[in-house]
Symmetry: C2
Subunit: 221 residues, 2 copies
């Protein structure tokens, strides 16, 4: 158990709030982030806001143009496709590692998270789908035992989620997604790394296809 206690600095909070605001869609992709406004909304000084923005810039959630200021990154299809390509590799590896290394408790927790996901799908609860998916992945990434993979995938999920906001609400996609995740879980529980890798890769490729379709519809409209 980790008993360390750390003081919560103002900007750590600013970073978290800003990140959350971006990921939740409170700030739209591409939207300019004006320092003075953020100062008011966050209730902190300009210096702290600027430091928080730099941090998010380093995380590639925010992009700055000199003398024009920072804005939320806007993903084109090009870059989104590249992210999915990397996710295929990393999530496949994470699933394979988890199939080898996950503890019984973690396997159980993944199963439980997936059950609640199924419930959220059945209840057409889109908010619930998001949180339970996140929970499933949280456990999977922890269970894989590779902190670097975890860190990189968190970053990629964050970026792709700027795009994904509506993919899941596409007709039938939630159910498909549930089946694909169930396949990952089954392979992990059965301790079959190769099957887990294949299932995870399949899931990401399917998500990629859906995202592409949604984006094209969106562009057409």
């Amino acid at each position: 158990m980790d008993l360390r206690v750390a003081p919560v600095t103002v900007q750590a909070q600013a970073v978290d709030k800003l990140r959350e605001a971006i990921l939740s869609g409170h700030f739209a992709p591409g939207q300019r982030l004006v320092e003075a406004e953020l100062c008011r909304e966050l209730g902190v000084s300009r210096g702290s806001v600027r430091e928080a923005l730099r941090r998010l810039e380093g995380e590639r959630l925010v992009a700055s143009v000199p003398n024009k200021g920072p804005s939320v990154i806007a993903l084109g299809w090009e870059e989104a496709a590249q992210i999915y390509a990397v996710r295929v590799l990393l999530e496949g590896e994470a699933a394979a590692l988890a199939a080898r290394a996950a503890s019984p408790a973690q396997r159980a927790a993944m199963a439980a998270a997936l059950d609640t996901f199924d419930a959220a799908v059945a209840a057409r609860d889109s908010a619930g789908r998001i949180t339970t998916t996140a929970r499933f992945y949280d456990i999977l990434l922890t269970a894989c035992g590779n902190g670097v993979i975890e860190e990189l995938l968190r970053g990629l999920h964050a970026r792709i989620s700027l795009l994904r906001s509506r993919s899941m609400s596409r007709k039938g996609r939630a159910e498909e997604s549930a089946r694909e995740m169930r396949a990952i879980l089954n392979a992990v529980v059965a301790r079959e790394p190769d099957a887990a890798r294949a299932a995870a890769a399949f899931h990401v490729r399917a998500a990629c296809e859906t995202a592409r379709a949604v984006m094209q519809e969106h562009l057409a409209a």
Copy 2:
């Protein structure tokens, strides 16, 4: 061709200088980075230094402890091994993509870079080995056409290089490395993605083994 011109802000320079100072070993891994000193050395205000540090924190080159301040990250073997594991995947993919997509000019440039690397190895020029290796990878990463892979691998290379400083100077490693990179090049030139992936993965695994050996000797000493 990209004709855009961008103003160079003070902190962009501060970030670059700091990053370079860290990667070149001017600041050792684990070393504390005191704001006041950096202000003097860089000749910029505290605010700019702090913003630069936040940025590098986002890039995971610097880690901050609240009320104690930032320091250069120190890699343990655990994390280094995890980074190598990811590099196997990503560099394998990058090589496979390059084998498919590289332009004739890029193939030629890779060959040229590798020739100068061979020359640096023959001349026992360790600085030359580093720059020419970097050049080879620069071209490979550009040629692979996936900017996300490029970005992630640059970050991982930066982190691992904090550890790698002396791996290459291990007896015989430079020559081995040259042969392994030649194998990657040959596969790319022959447009054989699978062979390129295997060669790149083999190269990273070998580098990982060497790093492990060097680190264990270092700990023993």
